[in-house]
């Protein structure tokens, strides 16, 4: 499951200076294969769950290099999953963390 161009999260990432690799998906969310994720080779994977290790340790996910290198960015669901007055703060926080993690 990934977020598409129409979603709030995708816009947040744009404004924080990131690129949503599935912005060609016009719906707000969609199902893509692991293979499609591997082909677009993300630098970072956003998760809102406690521990990404649930899928990160599965052998079939090791095809994605960000999973192999364990490059996950944990964001808080309450701030990032819905539009709210906290959105500007979320964008600032995200921009700072992206600067910190990108090589």
């Amino acid at each position: 499951m990934t977020v598409g161009r129409g979603s709030f999260l995708s816009e947040l990432v744009d404004r924080a200076g990131g690129v949503n690799l599935f912005s060609d998906v016009t719906a707000s969310s969609g199902v893509v294969s692991i293979e499609a994720v591997a082909a677009r080779n993300p630098d970072l994977i956003f998760t809102t769950t406690e521990e990404p290790s649930g899928f990160a340790s599965r052998p079939e996910w090791q095809v994605v290099s960000a999973v192999r290198k364990h490059r996950f960015l944990r964001v808080s669901g309450s701030e990032f999953n819905r539009p709210s007055p906290r959105a500007p703060a979320a964008i600032r926080e995200l921009a700072a963390r992206l600067d910190g993690t990108m090589p």
Partner: protein, 324 residues
């Protein structure tokens, strides 16, 4: 089945598997697929070995199993419209699986068992409901009961998905539409473990299915233990359907389309119908999965959408023919 036909079938299976390996989010040329299969350090090796190979093999085995379920059920009720999805088995199995996930009793080995219990309950309920009209089993009433029980199980499933807060349930919503997106070697091992016994048993019963297709009375006089075989066949189809639903969700109409296609092209007895249906069903679902992966890239369509788009028109056609 003659030698040329065997060669034809073998090359059809090989072609379908290769198409399955080369198509996907990124189309790989056959030379890359070949390199990836045999050389661990080839660039395409991780995608071919870890993602596509288990997916294609799983789609093949599930397609074959669902096709065989359809053929066996059709012999049981002597009607070409019988099929695990239409008879409510798939939805019963789905309900069992969702209950297992929602109660966190999950784990890759527990979900198929829960799905099996769900499928058994569904088949018993469908059978009981269709006896209401009288002592003789009318296949059309049986189908109607199957659709009703399926709808009921579907409603319960949706309710559990909305109400449960177990983490796997949202994913359950995705795989209940049917798809091989979560295919892995582990999923394949689980499926093979649960499916191998019923597949072998159904093949073993193939001769008796030919007798039962003649009618209960003549089958009895020809030495078939009709009741015992019937119980065994229902158990096998429930177990096979459950294994399929637990690993890749509800995929309908494979058991309808494939036996029909095989019967019209080969006109075989059940002895050769069942193996043929297995091979053709496998190819059918591998190709349907290829369409589901490539039709709306980068998104995936649930493979159940594609089988239904093919299956429903065929169902309408067969229904007209059986009622005439």
């Amino acid at each position: 089945v003659s030698l040329t036909r065997q060669a034809l079938l073998a090359s059809m299976v090989a072609a379908c598997l290769l198409i399955g390996l080369s198509a996907g989010a990124v189309a790989l040329p056959l030379s890359d697929v070949w390199q990836g299969l045999w050389h661990a350090d080839a660039a395409a090796a991780p995608i071919v070995r870890e993602l596509r190979a288990p997916r294609v093999v799983l789609a093949f085995l599930v397609g074959g199993s669902l096709g065989m379920c359809g053929a066996a059920l059709q012999a049981m009720i002597r009607n070409p419209l019988a099929e695990p999805y239409l008879l409510g088995l798939s939805s019963g199995a789905g309900l069992g699986a969702v209950i297992a996930i929602a109660t966190r009793a999950a784990g890759p080995w527990a979900i198929p068992v829960a799905a099996f219990l769900g499928a058994i309950c569904a088949v018993a309920l469908v059978y009981r409901l269709s006896l209401v009209t009288g002592r003789r089993l009318d296949p059309h009433v049986l189908l109607l009961s199957g659709v009703v029980v399926g709808a009921f199980a579907g409603a319960l499933m949706s309710a559990i998905m909305v109400l449960s807060d177990a983490p796997g349930v949202r994913n359950a919503f995705l795989w209940l539409l049917g798809g091989f997106g979560s295919a892995s070697w582990q999923a394949l091992a689980v499926f093979a473990a649960y499916a191998s016994v019923p597949i072998a048993l159904l093949l073993f019963h193939a001769r008796s299915l030919d007798l039962i297709a003649l009618g209960d009375e003549p089958a009895h006089h020809l030495g078939a233990e009709v009741d015992r075989i019937r119980r065994s066949v229902y158990l096998c189809t429930a177990l096979l359907t459950a294994a399929s639903v637990a690993t890749c969700g509800i995929i309908g109409f494979v058991g309808l389309v494939v036996p029909h296609a095989v019967r019209t092209t080969f006109r075989p007895l059940h002895r050769s119908l069942l193996p043929l249906v297995f091979l053709v069903g496998g190819c059918f679902l591998v190709l349907a999965d290829v369409v589901s992966r490539t039709a709306v890239r980068p998104l995936e369509l649930p493979v159940g959408v594609i089988t239904a788009l093919i299956g429903v028109p065929l169902f309408a056609l067969l229904l007209r023919r059986t009622l005439r």
